[in-house]
Subunit: 231 residues, 2 copies
DNA sequence: CATTACAATTGATATATATCATCGTCAATT
DNA sequence: AATTGACGATGATATATATCAATTGTAATG
């Protein structure tokens, strides 16, 4: 059941990146031959912030959480990654280190592509270079929106934004189960887990959502959008 | 007097972008022939968020403020731009609109380069494409740092960050005059102008800085760095 | 089944921060 | 010289949010 044609981009999380489809058939075949396949269990690190970046990674199956580690116990979830999406990062062409960490939210399968190979794809295919630039620019636009939400919206709006993102962009349904913890939701919304819990409770008692443990239902999408916009 | 070799990147504002120097001599000559030169007075808009983006702009002289306009009276200053730097934006290869506004902080001179010309530079020179990708990735890294500062530091730390940026990256001196208002400093630090004023006062009475109107002196860089880091 | 570990919840409280109203100051304009 | 308007400054207050401590639930483990 693919609802992706209905996708509404909330705009404040990093954009998805399935850009490999713009490679030539030859390039894709070559990639298929030389890639390494690795399985990850739920909860395992796919890579860690600060580590060297010898590979570009494509998530073939599962789901992962991309997040910044910011000192003791604090993190910022940048986005969730679904199968088909690419996991590069700004270390590419700069310091070749990972600037964020990635953890599997479900049992997942990833393909590893060596950096030198990826670099060659760009040099040999100027259309692909342009697609990559466009992809980075879209990520930039989403960052601007995230900055706006974090800087100028208060907690209700920020959590509404997170719920809309999960419903519209990640799970493509108003009803979903998730492995994200309350702490993860908090790290997506720049607040504490206690505040997250309290606001979820408010949303529940207003009838806007229902949730228990890891099951969520968005009853009133419009109300959420309104909370994001106005308060 | 160029101190740029001493530049320390604070990391939480968008990176500077003088990337045209990576063009070939031929390309640079061509650019010189076809560019349009425009003067802006202090306080004038160079371009506005939401407007179409027919040109890439190079600031040849002066200084400008790059900021997001976020609803009634709220803005977020992304960075300051000095002469030699490029003013593109994430509309490039995406929707060809401006996603931020730029205002001259001093009397300035800008060169306008048509988008189609810039696009051709990228297509004809794959090294330049790579430089551009690296530039975008560096901007990404700085965004991550900005997210960390905004999400997890409180006001003292955020304002310290802004002062360090001005001193180390923009004015390259512990003593500087600026056309930025208290509201601008607030918009760089995600807080209100009143809070900015109060914290500046605190910093003054602690002997960390001196300031009156538009003159600033950083007496204790180390203390500022410490406030940014620990509180 | 008992035990452990971790996640979710709740309430009380402290703190950080914004808002509002007001006033002074300086420079530009009439 | 009078007027305006923007900016800077300050105090009083309201609000948003984090922190701390305790309790309950829940799922994995032996």
């Amino acid at each position: 059941m693919d609802h992706s044609h209905n996708k509404i981009n909330t705009g404040s999380f990093d954009t998805s990146g399935n850009i490999l489809k713009f490679l030539t058939p030859n390039q894709l075949n070559y990639l298929n031959e030389i890639r390494h396949v690795v399985k990850f269990n739920k909860g395992e690190n796919i890579f860690k912030q600060g580590a060297p970046m010898p590979h570009i990674i494509v998530l073939e199956k599962g789901m992962a959480k991309v997040f910044l580690e910011d000192g003791a116990n604090r993190s910022i979830v940048l986005r969730l990654v679904k199968s088909g999406e690419i996991l590069g990062g700004p270390g590419f062409f700069t310091d070749y280190k990972h600037h964020f960490s990635v953890t599997a939210l479900e049992d997942s399968v990833a393909h590893f592509i060596e950096i030198s190979v990826f670099k060659k794809l760009i040099q040999d295919n100027s259309d692909f270079a342009i697609v990559l630039i466009a992809y980075l620019n879209k990520a930039h636009i989403n960052f601007y929106n995230r900055l706006k939400v974090i800087s100028h919206k208060q907690m209700n709006g920020r959590l509404a934004n997170t719920l809309i993102y999960l419903s519209n962009t990640i799970y493509n349904s108003s009803s979903f189960d998730t492995n994200l913890t309350r702490q993860d939701l908090a790290d997506m919304s720049s607040m504490t887990k206690e505040s997250t819990i309290r606001i979820l409770k408010d949303f529940k008692s207003s009838g806007i959502i229902e949730c228990s443990n890891n099951h969520f239902e968005i009853n009133d999408q419009e109300a959420l959008a309104n909370i994001l916009e106005n308060g």
